[in-house]
């Protein structure tokens, strides 16, 4: 694609809303480092795709950063110990999606000693792209914006696809979350370095970093870190949820539209989250695997909301203690943001590679659904960022006509939750669509 033919970047997308964002609660201060825990519960599968294969057994001594599980296939990543100590039991703990998941217990010895590190590539510009790509895989890096898709796979598009643009997601459009904002402010250099490494792996130079306008400090920090780099721009975007949706972001930054059922690479783009880039920079420059991440702990019941650099496997119960504990009754615990996050029923769920936030909501902040009939007011249709006919879809899904839902493109729903948020009849639209997508996937697997 020639740059002369590029449409103008519109800096926004069609549809979307701006819900009360609650970001002020956790926006101040710096990223805090919690003290070491006695025990970590490391969920074995922290990536989409094939689960990794466990290499250790109970009683084995481990060092911080040591390989605990190796990649189980091409769409899989290894897993590393969050601290030094011994391996405990392998047990089932509550997973973020509701069902129990297998996890391995790491009992800390309090020394927090690193294992023999991977070779640091301080001069990464002179390292071959194959070795950089291998490092991204060996460090266990996945998309840290929430999808947890193995990053090395995303950075290896099929050769026939011409990629010309690396799109960096610093939008952080989810209400309440400020983890990416803090990371961009405090580790802008790592983000820019990570972007450079990804661009080298993809053999391209054009990098666009999209940040919502409500993060001026992050924009300033990124611009300072990127000074002098040609072909890299930090683009302020309109504040509108879901600006960070892959397709919405590509459109806002490049004016290109990813067609229904298509992927970013169809329009020459690869999208990476800023957290992923910082992790890539750490893995390449310092030779460290992914064993920690920045997490926002926030919500009105949290005594001292803020951002923390948690080790993977930190139980939410402990995470809340570090944030000063709970000061009023909690009605809802959500992993991730309020729009796309998952409500939890246990405090034993743990921080994993894609946990961007831990959000507590009090009783007066949670709406109970009392779904009524559709009023055909069209607010959902107006707001849907995928331009779906939500009102029709909602009705066909309610009647379990998944064939009609498929015809009406339900598989393109990105589950942003806007349609449920704006519905005056309180209809659980996105819940219907999530179910329809799950049912259709099952049907397609069977056929």
């Amino acid at each position: 694609m020639n740059s002369h033919h590029l449409p103008a970047a519109p800096h926004h997308f069609a549809g979307g809303i701006h819900p009360a964002d609650g970001k002020a609660m956790s926006a101040s201060g710096t990223i805090r480092i919690p003290p070491l825990l006695d025990k970590y519960f490391l969920v074995i599968q922290q990536n989409i795709g094939i689960p990794p294969k466990l290499l250790v057994k109970k009683g084995d001594p481990v060092k911080k950063g040591q390989l605990i599980a190796e990649a189980g296939g091409p769409i899989s990543v290894p897993l590393h110990a969050p601290t030094s100590g011994t391996v405990g039991d392998t047990l089932d703990i509550p997973g973020a999606n509701g069902a129990p998941v297998p996890a391995v217990e790491i009992i800390s010895d309090g020394k927090d000693e690193w294992c023999e590190p991977m070779e640091p590539y301080a001069d990464w510009r002179n390292v071959s792209r194959e070795r950089l790509l291998a490092r991204v895989k060996d460090a266990g890096i996945v998309g840290m914006g929430g999808a947890a898709f193995p990053t090395h796979a995303k950075l290896s598009p099929p050769p026939e696809r011409a990629i010309d643009t690396l799109v960096i997601n610093g939008a952080e459009c989810e209400p309440y979350l400020t983890a990416d904002d803090h990371l961009m402010r405090e580790a802008a250099q790592a983000v820019i370095t990570g972007a450079g490494i990804c661009a080298k792996i993809l053999r391209i130079s054009h990098v666009l970093i999209g940040v919502e306008e409500n993060k001026p400090e992050a924009i300033t920090a990124l611009r300072a870190a990127a000074k002098g780099i040609r072909d890299l721009s930090v683009v302020p975007l309109h504040v509108r949820y879901p600006q960070g949706g892959e397709k919405q972001l590509i459109y806002a930054l490049t004016g290109r539209k990813v067609m229904a059922g298509g992927l970013p690479m169809d329009v020459g783009c690869v999208v990476q989250n800023v957290g992923t880039l910082a992790a890539i920079a750490d893995a390449v420059i310092n030779g460290r695997p992914l064993i920690e991440r920045v997490v926002t702990v926030t919500g009105s019941p949290v005594a001292e909301p803020g951002n923390f650099r948690f080790r993977l496997g930190t139980p939410v119960r402990k995470a809340l203690e570090f944030a000063g504990g709970i000061r009023k009754e909690v009605r809802k615990l959500i992993l991730g943001g309020p729009m796309m996050g998952f409500a939890q029923s246990s405090l034993d769920v743990t921080v994993s590679k894609n946990t961007s936030g831990i959000l507590l909501l009090a009783a007066d902040e949670v709406r109970q659904f009392e779904a009524g009939p559709c009023l055909s007011c069209g607010r959902c249709v107006e707001a849907c960022p995928m331009r779906l006919l939500v009102s029709t879809l909602s009705k066909v899904c309610e009647n379990e006509r998944y064939d009609l839902a498929d015809e009406n493109y339900v598989m393109n729903c990105l589950e942003c939750g806007i349609c449920t948020y704006v519905c005056p009849a309180g209809r659980p639209n996105v819940q219907h669509f999530r179910r329809a997508k799950a049912e259709l996937r099952t049907m397609k697997r069977k056929n």
């Binding site: 999606n97 659904f369 819940q431 179910r435 799950a438």
Partner: protein, 276 residues
């Protein structure tokens, strides 16, 4: 005036000619159907429940006459009509075994632990696909009543968060067994007078944590009547069609009340009071 007469005449002639044409084609191209199909369709219950596997009662009747399918596939039809159908088909049918649906769970709101205020879609299958509902047990009744809504005969009652089948109403069509996402409804012989109302494969302590009415596989019942009760892992099942007297159940005195007679289960709809 002439115009009116002409028009009436023309219409009459047209009507006559077309009528004769229709009459001729009806005779000439008549589709021969077996009169038994209609007769059997009349005898079938007409609920079109689909339990037989055919697209409604008429289609099943056609299959019986044309393809020689057995009439035993309809669980709903009355004994009297069943005999008439067999006669029409010229078959000796004998007696059919009646089957009823059983929900293998005692975990109502008083016994199953609630881990969340479920706020999602009011449908068990949706809950199973997404989060698993509000109860802690991953094997038991979700309690949102998908089975009750699927039952054409109103045989399933949703009682205190637990689906309970009324065996005297149940026709054994099996629709609910397909709908239940946890697969805890099964068709069993109506002769079975007691069941172990639990479906959890969890180990004892884990099961106990989630429900006070689950089968702990203590094997009290297996020891008392090894020919009737069979322990499979952490779950006991009663042999289908076995004679289980009330005295036997009383003497076993199941510690959680998971083993109950059908009548008791229907009365209380749950395990033992105060078993917690």
């Amino acid at each position: 005036m002439t115009n009116v007469i002409l028009a009436a005449l023309a219409l009459a002639i047209l009507g006559l000619v077309l009528g004769m044409l229709i009459g001729y084609t009806a005779k000439r191209f008549a589709v021969q159907t077996d009169p038994r199909i209609e007769a059997i369709t009349e005898l079938l219950p007409g609920a079109n429940c689909g339990g037989c596997g055919y697209a409604g009662c008429a289609d099943y009747a056609r299959a019986m006459v044309e393809d020689g399918v057995s009439p035993a596939g309809c669980a709903v039809v009355s004994e009297e009509n069943f005999q008439k159908i067999s006669q029409a088909l010229g078959q000796d049918s004998g007696k059919r075994e009646r089957k009823v649906a059983v929900v293998y769970c005692s975990g109502d709101n008083g016994h199953a632990r609630r881990v969340a205020l479920y706020n999602g879609l009011n449908d068990c299958r949706a809950a199973a696909v997404l989060s698993g509902g509000g109860k802690g047990c991953r094997f038991g009744c979700i309690g949102l009543g998908s089975c009750a809504r699927s039952c054409q005969f109103g045989a399933i009652e949703l009682r205190n968060g637990l689906a309970v089948v009324h065996p005297e109403i149940c026709k054994g069509c099996g629709k609910c067994t397909e709908v239940c996402p946890r697969k805890l409804i099964r068709l069993v012989s109506a002769e079975t007078k007691a069941h172990v109302y639990c479906n959890s494969l969890d180990k004892g302590p884990a099961k106990r944590k989630n429900c006070t009415a689950g089968c702990l596989a203590c094997r009290k019942c297996v020891k008392a009547a090894p020919d009737i009760f069979n322990a499979q892992g952490f779950l006991v099942r009663a042999r289908e069609g076995a004679e289980i007297s009330d005295e036997l159940i009383a003497s076993i005195n199941c510690p959680t009340g998971a083993l109950q007679s059908v009548a008791d289960h229907l009365r209380s709809g749950k395990g033992k009071e105060g078993a917690a």
